[in-house]
């Protein structure tokens, strides 16, 4: 699956990076977002789950493969709604990935960031929206254009 839906209320706490200039620490993304798997069991016999209590889901590890190359961005607009990207959604963007045909990419086109599917057709490049009200945009050599990063995940707030 290319997209996930998550209910996030503590995004602010996803302290993305701690830096010090005098020395270096490996970036620890996993620090602040760990959801325990096991529930407290109040019954009178020892829980068979106890041995596994240290297991937990680490969303950062799951969704951020290259922490040093990962950045976030906020969607503004509705041209990608059929791909599940809505206005206000948060995108996880990996700059280290090479774009493949049909990748959803954050591109820089003539002065602003835009998110579209990148379609390679012979020697022509198209930015394709996922909303039938929008036409594909051709990219010409004279455009100021870079593929800035590849969208790997979208985060939505439901409430």
């Amino acid at each position: 699956m290319e997209f996930i839906l998550i209910l996030f209320s503590t995004l602010e706490e996803l302290t993305f990076m701690r830096t010090t200039l005098t020395h270096i620490k490996k970036i620890e993304l996993s620090k602040s977002l760990v959801l325990p798997l096991a529930e407290k069991i109040t019954a009178g016999f020892p829980s068979p789950a106890e041995d596994f209590l240290d297991l937990s889901i680490d969303l950062n590890k799951e969704f951020i493969k290259h922490p040093n190359a990962t950045f976030f961005g906020k969607v503004s607009g509705d041209s990608m709604i059929d791909a599940g990207l809505n206005d206000g959604d948060l995108l996880i963007i990996d700059k280290s990935l090479e774009p493949k045909n049909n990748s959803i990419a954050v591109c820089f086109l003539d002065g602003e960031f835009t998110v579209k599917r990148v379609l390679c057709e012979k020697d022509k490049l198209w930015l394709v929206a996922e909303n039938k009200n929008y036409q594909p945009i051709p990219v010409y050599p004279e455009n100021d254009f870079v593929i800035w990063g590849i969208v790997t995940t979208v985060i939505k707030k439901i409430s």
Partner: protein, 420 residues
Amino acid sequence: MFALVDCNNFYASCERVFNPSLREVPIAILSNNDGCVIARSNEAKALGIPMGAPAFKFEKIFKQKNIKVFSSNYALYGDMSARVMNILSEFTPDIEIYSIDESFLYFKGYDKIGLEKHLQKMKKTVEKSTGIPISIGVAETKTLSKVANRIAKKFPKHTGGIYIIKNEELRLKALKWLSIGDIWGIGRQHQKRLEALGLQKAYEFAQLNDDWVRKHMTVVGLRLKKELEGEQTLGLEGITNKKAIATTRSFDYEYKDLDYITERICSYAIICGEKLRRQDSCCQSIHVFLKSNRFRENTTYHSRGFTVQLPYPTNSSLDLVKFAKKALHQIYKQDISYKKAGVIVSRITPENEKQTSLFTEENPKHFPLMKKIDALNESYGKHTIKFGNQDLKHRWKMRQNHLSQNYSTKLTDVIEIKAD
């Protein structure tokens, strides 16, 4: 082989990652408080904006020449720096982070062709992953790798941003190219002395007699000469075992006022404390110094320092402030105008090796208190919590009229991506 990796126009490059339309635009970055220019893009250099240009004097020129001005955004630069350094450390375990945009790396066991390929891959990975362009200089010694880096940067088209001093011929060529004043760590005094002797290039310095160099430039100068000759005398500095941490600043004006100077010294001591705690270590010695203006005529240059040995290893800002004030009172003189001051902490030991003593007055409450303060300052911004000795107004004085967003560290500041 040593490699010196340097981020090109680092601050300007950071701004450009999140604002690619600035790629070819001249950029100037201002110091804290928007005082003066501390970094320039190549385009701004070409327009003749000097380093240290006072912002208020150049305001017109910035406008006339369409130079984009930024306040320094250390949250952004620090984060981008950590990303670059993390990636570099994936390519060799031996790395010394030298400054926010420079690192020495050591590569063992590569033949020259293998190393070149490895470095190309490293450069590509850093640039693709972070958007920050880098230059790499490689040679047998650290000092020579600095020279190689200079060449890589100066001739990007020719070198592709990577230059290796592979053999004796290239070493001599490089030394004949490098001016004396551009030798890493030569110092102003030695430069003057050598130039007075008619020497111009690093090559001529390296031709000097060892004894002469030792006599006139001490063992430090001799080490420099050996390094240029390709004989390794400097190794990688341990990253966590810094021997000393210094916080020093020049004042914007000259000050005589004891209250002002006390406030500054206390602030520097507090910053040293933060730096110590960040690397989980304590110090056992604190040195405070004051200097008058070296360039001022008609007055004698005044420079004094005082060191206090601490009764116990500490990283508590409260303790450091206390002892720094003691040291300050030893050296402060009423009738002198001071231009520069600093606090240096040394005899650094890891926090977990700290020995508790029965008879000293260390306050055990400091440790959790400092942790809390650091945490608050981290989440609510620097200087949220201040100590009574610090200038509480300072927060409102900090001018940052051209600050960019914390694109990479704050969710409310991330880039906006249009989907329309």
